[in-house]
Amino acid sequence: MSIIKPTRRGLLKTGALAGAGLAMPTILRAAGYTNEPTGGTVTFGFNVPQTGPYAEEGKDELRAYQLAVEHLNGEGDGGALNTFSSKALKGNGVLGKKVAYVSGDTQTKSDAARASAKSMIEKDGAIMITGGSSSGVAVAVQGLCQEAGVIFMAGLTHSNDTTGKDKKANGFRHFFNAYMSGAALAPVLEKAYGKDRRAYHLTADYTWGWTQQESIQAATEAIGWKTVNNVLTPLATTDFSSYIAPVLNSGADVLILNHYGGNMVNSLTNAVQFGLRDKMVNGKQFEIVVPLYSELMAKGAGKNIEGVFGSTNWSWKLQDAGTKAFVQSFGTKYGFPPSNAAQTAYAQALLYADAAERAGTFNPCGIVEALEGDGSSLPDINSAANTGYLFDGLGNGPTLYRKPDHQCFKDVLVMKGKENPDNEYDALEIVEITPVKQVWYEPDNPMFAGGELGKCNPGSA
């Protein structure tokens, strides 16, 4: 370093040069919004957990995204594009541009997820971010996308807050939510276990757990159940023994596990090991309920889930044309059926592309307008809020992207752990398809109140 001998003159020169460089009129990219694609490709950002408690779900989402990109670019068999009610997409990319993608690891942490999303937006020029297998992450990334002026298509996020108090104009959710789970499950639980039950809740300690617990408690109390206790468990917990032991002496006869992913696999396994399901309490058989199910969790929990009730957004066992087309092409490519995380990811990618195609632009405000729809509405629901973009053929039957809060409304599935499954992908069976009317709520429902969408933000170059 001693070769550099700064002189006063030299220093002034360097300073002046640096100053001139900074002051140079910068040539802005000719763009009216963030990351306007100028070349022959458009970049999507797939931000999913590849490590952490929700890694399995994240990897399945990524598979679905890759499949969606293939279909959008006209490769493969086209999948659900053939059954989708909107025919705007032609399999030649989006708006004539080939779809490229970048992926990132959220690590199931808000900080890491935001850093990863930021690098996709700032470095890779992603026009849209999608993914997330944790509501905490989804909420954090949705906020970031709103500020940066890109669209966020939420992946696996089930918290009421995502389209409730944390909703954002640039964010959209296809997945169902905790309120819908509660509304769908309660009647089934009432039929199976009766009106006089005492429930003990174990709840993952973050936004999803809180709203999930609140929703299921409200729904079960409406059918006459009592709530004995609610215990919050940290997301990173792997051994739930110390949380299960007190359940035995609490006088409760139902354990509700507001856990997801690896958490749920562990807590359910612990509960079964403690022999909870063989107990008789208050003269009734002790039961366990898991409000939010997924095929991957069922696979992980194995025999322990037999007879346990839960809800899902979708199942590969559905028989509609959209589901069949998607399961067919996913199975051909990867050799096993998709999870409902994969399905929501696939649907979100297609819905975004379709909205861009219909809007004729990638401008976030155009996309928002296209997804908020033409005022079409679901049949049989009498509400001023029943307006938005109605579509079909992606696997859930007729679905409404509701304008007031950017939440999708569709039928919800109540599932049960299957006795004697044929194989590891067959662990769940459909108990009931709860019609959308039964899970409908108004946007000002107290569980969703507090936030506002605000205005769409196209950002700037």
Binding site: S2, L28, D105, E122, E147, D166, D205, G450, E452
Partner: protein, 406 residues
């Protein structure tokens, strides 16, 4: 200049030039080339380089000078972030009050932790700080959720009070209206350079803190700290009470971490508990040692190296590798990709670990020592330890024994 001798002035100028020209230096490859993958010159990462540089500089004041190895520095970073976000929620999106509060709260917090932890030295001190940090993490994670919003992370909502917010105030973080996220992009041929307001604000902070750190290193106070590192017992026997000195260093260092935390929040108004996890504290230690503990510029280099690995190397997934090696025959390609995939993408930690081991074994003085050796090798300047801050004739000084090794 500015009360520095010639050598330190030069060092300060080099750091300033590097930082100011960062957008150019970090984007050496044209944006359409295959090597653009290795470009690091986008605002978010550049901000991180600088912010973690500040954190490491602060950590080095404690570890490099006194030899006290704190394993709890992430706690101060986290506390700084939370304070800053609360200022955004309560006052306005102006970053000045946020950063000031972040520094103050982190300093107060470090007085408490330092007062207790510094009753012990060596490994016991490290364990105590680790325990405090982990405690703070758990508090933030589940106990204090009304203040920290738990795992979800603290965010700014539209219905927050924000008492100083006028109807026309900016809704993104700003310094009296100058928005931190404003970026000017400059297209020069195939190259693209980003000049981000937030980055330059961080650079100003970095230069101020770097200057302060140089002054501390060269001051009588700094000499006292080095004396603590060299032989605290002897100091005690000569009747000097070393604890106030160590505590002061601890608090300064904590305030630096608070500043870094405040800046993180100022660039992106969100604070999550994982910022306080012990792995985050460990990262600071690794940054400092990797770059060269006890040197002035080392920690900044170390911070840069780790953040680069974390953000760029981790992006090289198997798809990218397959592209790179597509010229090989299929079977060979599979093998090569498999091997490389262990070290890139999710495997970046492995690369970091290897690098860390190599540095510890062959370059105990960190990257700084490496660059000195290279310079000596090519015959540029016979100087040694020019930027190390150790002085010219280390061999005549007693060897410093870090307190962890006791």
């Amino acid at each position: 200049m500015l009360g520095l001798d010639k050598r330190d002035t030069l060092l300060l100028i080099i750091v300033s030039v590097l930082a100011i020209l960062g957008p150019f230096i970090l984007n050496p490859f044209p944006s359409n080339s295959a090597l653009a993958q290795f470009n690091a010159g986008y605002p978010d990462l550049m901000q991180r380089f600088v912010i973690f540089g500040i954190l490491a500089i602060g950590f080095n004041i404690l570890f490099g000078l006194t030899g006290y190895l704190s394993f709890g520095h992430a706690a101060f970073l986290g506390v700084g972030s939370y304070s800053a976000v609360w200022m955004f929620k309560l006052l306005s999106m102006n970053i000045l009050p946020a950063i000031i509060l972040a520094v103050v709260v982190a300093a107060v917090f470090s007085v408490v932790i330092g007062y207790i932890s510094l009753r012990r030295s060596g490994i016991y001190f490290s364990i105590l700080t680790l325990a405090f940090a982990q405690m703070s993490y758990n508090l933030a994670y589940s106990v204090l959720t009304p203040i920290t919003n738990g795992e979800t992370g603290l965010q700014v909502y539209t219905d927050d009070p924000q008492y100083l917010m006028g109807p026309n105030s900016s809704t993104v973080t700003n310094l009296f209206g100058l928005e931190m996220r404003t970026t000017h992009s400059l297209d020069l041929g195939g190259w693209e350079f980003h000049f981000n307001v937030g980055y330059y604000f961080c650079v100003v902070m970095l230069l101020l803190t770097f200057y302060l750190s140089v002054r501390i290193f060269r001051s009588p106070f700094g000499l006292m700290l080095k004396a603590i590192k060299t032989n605290q017992t002897r100091l005690n026997y000569t009747g000097i009470n070393t604890r106030p000195y160590a505590l002061t260093a601890f608090v300064i260092s904590g305030a630096y971490a608070g500043l870094a935390g405040g800046l993180l929040a100022a660039m992106d108004p969100l604070a999550g508990p994982e910022r306080m996890q012990w792995t985050a504290s460990g990262e600071v230690v690794i940054m400092t040692i990797l770059g060269g503990a006890g040197t002035l510029i080392g920690p900044v280099l170390g911070a840069g190296a780790i953040k680069y690995l974390e953000n760029i190397f981790s992006k090289i997934n198997e798809n990218v590798l397959q592209d790179w090696f597509s010229f090989l025959p299929h079977d060979v390609q599979e093998v090569v990709v498999w091997i490389f995939a262990r070290f890139t993408g999710e495997g970046w930690h492995l690369t970091l670990g290897l690098m860390f081991m190599l540095v510890i074994i062959f370059l105990p003085g960190g990257l700084v020592e490496g660059s000195q050796r290279i310079m000596r090798l090519v015959g540029i300047g016979k100087a040694k330890g020019k930027s190390s801050g150790q002085g010219e004739d280390d061999e005549h000084h007693p060897k410093a024994t870090p307190h962890v090794a006791e």
